[in-house]
Amino acid sequence: MRLSPDALVFWRYGFLVLNSTIVTTWALMLVMTVGAMLITRRLATEGHISRWQGFLEIVVTTIQKQIQEVGLHHPEKYLGFIGTLFLFIAVSNLCAILPGYEPPTGSLSTTSALAISVFVAVQLFGIEEQGVVGYLKSYLKPTFIMLPFNIISELSRTFALAIRLFGNIMSGTMIVGILLTITPLIFPLFMNLLGLLTGMVQAYIFSILATVYIAAATRTRGE
């Protein structure tokens, strides 16, 4: 029983490895990008709007409203990043319903990459909003003795994001694997359902936490 999809290797050349995580990630990216391109080829604002366009509009406006409710006043700037996080994690967890599929978010590499990109994005959005000096000064904010604690809290938030998503998805797939060897008929089905639910919740949590961190970094004093 594999701990993560990193262990299933398709092809290896020296230190370059093509494992199940990479293949699944690229397949998901391909499906989502090509699907979105096909749906948005002929956008209509009146008359007959296709169902797929309506579905995409619902998704985009819901994410935009959520970003606005957290406290970011120009959601268009952050919609690309946060929407991508949510959609990638949600689609990769929902596709667990397909047989023989292992979610790439069950590998610590994928979740660490997502968490590191959130960390970098928080710094970049903060600097864009407050300037380099202003943003770095915010680390000294309550008093300058808090500087090491602020830095530690930044790093531990990133670490917690990665481990939370990895732990939830990995334990979901592993529980189903273990149950399949014990009680094969009904229980793995319920655990698979629970896995789908937690996958969606974790996607939402990841993107909302990223939004909250960005909002905290871009909030100017006196607002």
Binding site: R164, N168, Q202
Partner: protein, 93 residues
């Protein structure tokens, strides 16, 4: 007792104790969080969406403590580096 069996015994016991003790506190915390959220929903039903969203975010943060313990347990059982080391030594001999 040789090192192989000692590592196996301690790993198994630790894995069980980790997840057992590590899920007590998050469960209690989540219970308190949900009960407070329910009473505030009863007091202010208009803020239902805000309360529900904040509740889910808070529950995920609390849950992640239990997830850390679960990850340690899983690593001890399925990807134990000390066990792999002694097994490699034993088969290499």
């Amino acid at each position: 007792m040789e090192s192989t069996s000692l590592i196996a015994i301690v790993s198994i016991i630790t894995a069980g104790v980790t997840i057992a003790v590590g899920s007590i506190a998050p469960a209690l915390g989540e219970g308190r969080a949900v009960s407070t959220a329910l009473s505030s929903l009863a007091q202010q039903p208009d803020a239902a969406t805000t309360i529900t969203r904040t509740l889910f975010v808070g529950l995920a943060m609390i849950e992640s403590i239990a997830i850390y313990c679960l990850v340690i347990s899983m690593i001890l059982i399925f990807a134990n580096p000390f066990w792999n080391h002694v097994i490699a030594q034993a088969t290499g001999k």
